[in-house]
C-alpha cells in the first residue's frame, strides 16, 4: 500500500503540473504597459513554486516508498545534517527565494502604484453601484461636476446625481455605460463607490483595484492594444455581483474622439 501511495502522489503531482507546463489555462493576453512585469513575476514564481511543489511531493513519495514497512532488523538512521541541516536549507533556499521574490515584486508594485501620472492623461471616472458600472468623462472643461447623492435617480439615468442646472462643470460631463479609452495614452481612472464595496478587474489590463466607499481613489494605466475587454466586479456586493460587468473599448485616438462626440450628443 505504501508503494502505491508513493506512486499516486507522484502521478498526482505530475498531472497537476501538466496544465501549467502546457499553458492550458492562463490569464488573457496582456495589453498593458505594466503587464509584462507582472507576467514575468508570475512566470518566475511559477518556476520556483513549481519546483518546490514537485520536489516536495517527490521526496515525500520517495520516503514513503523506501521506508514503509521496515522492521526492527533495519536500523533507524538519522538524516545527514539533521534538523540543523533542514533549518539551514529552509533559510538558504526558501529564504533567499522569498527575499528575491519580495524585492522584485516590490519593484513591480512600485511601477504600478508609485509611478507618477504622465501629463496629458485622459481622466475617466468610474462609479460602481449595485449592480453596474457607469463612467463619466469631464468634457471640454476638463472638470468633473460635483456629485449630489440626493439627486441620484436611476430611472432618469442620472446615475451620478449631477445637477446640470446649477453646476456649470456638470453640463459638459459625459456619462456612459461603456468605457472607451484611446490606445497608448495614459488613463487616470478615478474610482467612486456609490453604495458599498466593489472592485474593478480587467484581467487583460492586469488591473484589480477595490473601490472604497467614502474614499475616492485613483489609479492610472496605459492600454497598448486595441480591442474590447470585460470589466468585472470582484468584491462581493450582493445578489447581482456575478453579473456586474461593463465593457472596455480600447480604440485608436481618432475613433475615441468620434465616440466621445457621439456620446456627448446623447447626453
Amino acid at each position: 500500500m505504501a508503494k502505491l501511495l508513493a506512486v499516486t502522489i507522484v502521478i498526482i503531482a505530475a498531472l497537476s503540473a501538466v496544465p501549467i507546463l502546457r499553458h492550458t489555462w492562463e490569464p488573457p493576453p496582456d495589453i498593458s504597459r505594466e503587464g509584462p512585469a507582472i507576467d514575468h513575476q508570475i512566470d518566475e514564481t511559477m518556476k520556483e513554486a513549481g519546483i518546490c511543489f514537485l520536489a516536495g511531493q517527490v521526496v515525500l513519495a520517495l520516503m514513503i516508498w523506501a521506508y514503509a514497512g521496515r522492521g526492527r532488523e533495519h536500523k533507524i538512521g538519522k538524516l545527514p545534517g539533521g534538523a540543523l541541516g533542514m533549518v539551514i536549507l529552509a533559510f538558504l533556499i526558501v529564504g533567499t527565494e522569498v527575499i528575491i521574490l519580495g524585492a522584485v515584486s516590490s519593484k513591480v508594485w512600485a511601477q504600478v502604484y508609485f509611478a507618477p501620472l504622465k501629463p496629458g492623461a485622459v481622466a475617466v471616472q468610474v462609479q460602481a453601484q449595485q449592480f453596474a458600472f457607469y463612467f463619466r468623462y469631464p468634457g471640454p472643461d476638463g472638470v468633473f461636476g460635483p456629485i449630489h447623492p440626493d439627486l441620484i435617480n436611476d430611472a432618469t439615468e442620472n446615475f451620478f446625481g449631477l445637477d446640470t442646472d446649477r453646476d456649470p462643470a456638470s453640463r459638459d460631463d459625459i456619462v456612459t455605460a461603456e468605457m472607451a479609452i484611446p490606445v497608448n495614452r495614459e488613463i487616470q481612472l478615478m474610482m467612486h463607490a456609490r453604495d458599498l464595496s466593489h472592485s474593478f478587474y480587467v484581467p487583460a489590463l492586469r488591473i484589480q483595484q477595490d473601490f472604497v466607499p467614502g474614499l475616492d481613489l485613483s489609479i492610472h494605466f496605459t492600454a497598448n492594444k486595441i480591442g474590447r475587454y470585460e470589466i468585472v466586479c470582484t468584491q462581493l456586493c450582493g445578489l447581482g455581483h456575478y453579473n456586474m460587468k461593463a465593457y472596455l473599448d480600447v480604440m485608436s485616438e481618432s475613433d475615441y474622439n468620434d465616440w466621445l462626440k457621439k456620446e456627448a450628443a446623447l447626453q
Binding site: I20, M63, Y67, R70, K75, A83, L101, V112, L196, Q208
Partner: protein, 597 residues
Amino acid sequence: MHDLRAHATQHHGPPQSFIRKYIFSTDHKVIGKQYYGLGLVAVFVGMGLSWIMRLHLGWTDLRIPGLAWLSPNGAPGGVLTPEYYLQLMTMHATFMVFFVLTVAPFAAFGNFFLPIQVGAEDMPFPHINMMSFWVTFVAFCILVSSFFFSDGPALSGWTAYAPLSAVGAVAGPGQGVGQVLWALSIAVFCVGQLLGSLNFIPTTLDMRAKGLSLSRMPLTVWAWFITSCMGLTAFAVLMPACILLIMDHVVGTSFFIPSNLVVSGQIQPHSGGSTLLWQHLFWFFGHPEVYIAIVPAMGIVSHVLVTFMRRPLLSYKVVIGSMLSLAFLSYMVYGHHMFVSGMNPISSLVFSFPTLIITIPSTILVLIWLGSLYRSRLRITTASLFALGFISMFITGGVSGFFLAQPPIDIMVHATYFVVGHFHFVMAVAAIFGIFSGTYFWFPKMFGRMMSERLGKLHFWLTFVGVYCIFMPFHYLGLAGNVRRYQAFVDDYTMNLIPIHRFATVAALFTGAVQLIFLYNLVHSRFWGEKAPDNPWESTSLEWSTTSPPPYDNFGGRHPIVYHDPYQYGVQSATGSDYIMQDSPEEEQPEAAETNR
C-alpha cells in the same frame, strides 16, 4: 470550627445521572466528545451546502430536489436564486471555519487529551469548561436559526465586509436579521472559545504531572497551548468588531459606514465610518484564525507520525520553535488579504514581507517531517496515511501562497478561484486530514474500540484522490481569471471554464459521498468495533498508559510520574519493545540509535 479537612477530602465521585454524565458534564472527556459531535454535525451541514453550491455552479438552471421544500423563496422550483447561492456560500464558510476547523482539532481533541497528556485528572475549571461547550453550542444554534428568520441568512460571505454587512436589509436579502444573527453567533462563539482558553492555558502551565517539564510535553500539547494563546488575542478582537457591526445595524451608529451612500436608491443616514476599519479588525483576527485551524493539526500529525515512524522527529525544539514563529508572524501578515483593498500601497509592501518570511517556518516543518521519514520504520495505518496525506496537502497549499504573498501577482489572482484553491488545500483538506488522522489514532482511546482499518484505508484513498480532483483545478481557474463568489459564470472569458467546474462538482459529490464511509465507520465501531487494548499503537504519551477508555479521573487514582520525553522510540526497552512510555521508570537505552536533540 468545622472539620475543614473532612470537608475538603470529601470526594465527589463520578456523576450518576444521565444528564450529568452526558449532557451537562464537567468531565473534560465528555466535553471533548461533545465538541467532536458538534464538529461532525457542522461538517456534514457545511459539506451539504457545498454540494448544493457546486451543483448550481456546474448547472445553473438545475432543479435540485428537496430544495424548494426547504426554502421556497430561496430556491423556487428547486433552482437556486442568486441571493440564495450567496447565502448558502456564506453559511458554508462560517460553519466550516468556525464550527469545524476551530472546534474539532482544538476544542474537541484538546479538551479530551490535553489533561491526560499532561497527567492531570481534569482541567482546573470544569464548570467553565462545560460553559465553553454550551456557549459554543448556543452560537451554533443562533447561526442555524438565521436560515429560518426573515429573508434568510446573511449573504456577505464569512468575511462580512462593510458596508454590505453594515447598512442593513436595504443592501439585499439576508442583510437585515440574517446579518445580525450571523454577527451575534460569531460574537457568542468567540466567548465560548475564550472560556476554553481559560482552561487550556492553566492546564498546560500548572497542572502537569511530576517530571513533565515543558520540554517533555508532547507536540500536541504544545500545539494546543500555542493555539489557545492565539485564540486569546484573535477572538478577543473579533468579538468587539461583531458588536460594533451589530450596533451599526441596530442602533444606527456609523463605525463602518461612510457618508452619502445611496443604497437601492435611498441615502443612508450614516456618516463618516470607515469600511477599511472592518477589514483591519476582521483580518487581524482572520489570519491568526487560519493558524488556529492548522497548528493543532500540525501537532496531531507530528505526534501521529512519530508513533508510526517508530522514531522521534529530527528535532523537537525546532518543531516547537517553528510553530511559535508561525503563531508570532501570523499577526504581522494579515494585510495580505487587503493588498488591493484601497489601503495605502506602502502598507501592502509592509505586509508582504512577513507573508513571504512565514514560508520559512512552514518549510522547516515540512522538511523536518520529510527528513524524519528518512530511514525510519514507517508503519502504514489509516492514521499514518492521513498524516502523510497532510504533508502532501500542506505542500500543495503552501506553494500557492508564494503567488498570493506578492502584491503585484495578487492583482491578478485576488478574489479568484486561485485563492479558493489555496485556502481549501490548507484548511479544508490539510486541517481536515489532521482531524481524520487524530480520529483514527485516538478513537480506540476515546471509545475503547478499534475503528475498521479496512474502511479507514478506503476512506483515505478515495478522499486523497478526490480532494486533489476538486481543488487542484481551482488554481487553473484562478490563473485564467475566474472570479470567486459568483453564482454563475456569464463573462465571455469564463465560458470555456465551465466544464472544469463541472468536473470539480462531480469530484466534490463523489468525495462527499465517500465521507459517509467515515461516518459509518465511526458509528459502527463505536458500538460494535473490536475492543481496544490500552496501547494499540505502541505509543509513549501518557494517554496510552491508562485504560481505553480512560476512567473518570483519567488514571484510576494513580498519579503518573514522568521520566522521559514522549519520543522514546527506536530504543531498547527492558520488555523487548522498541519504545519506552513516558511514565516508565526504566532507563533510556538507545538501540544503537543516536539521541536526537
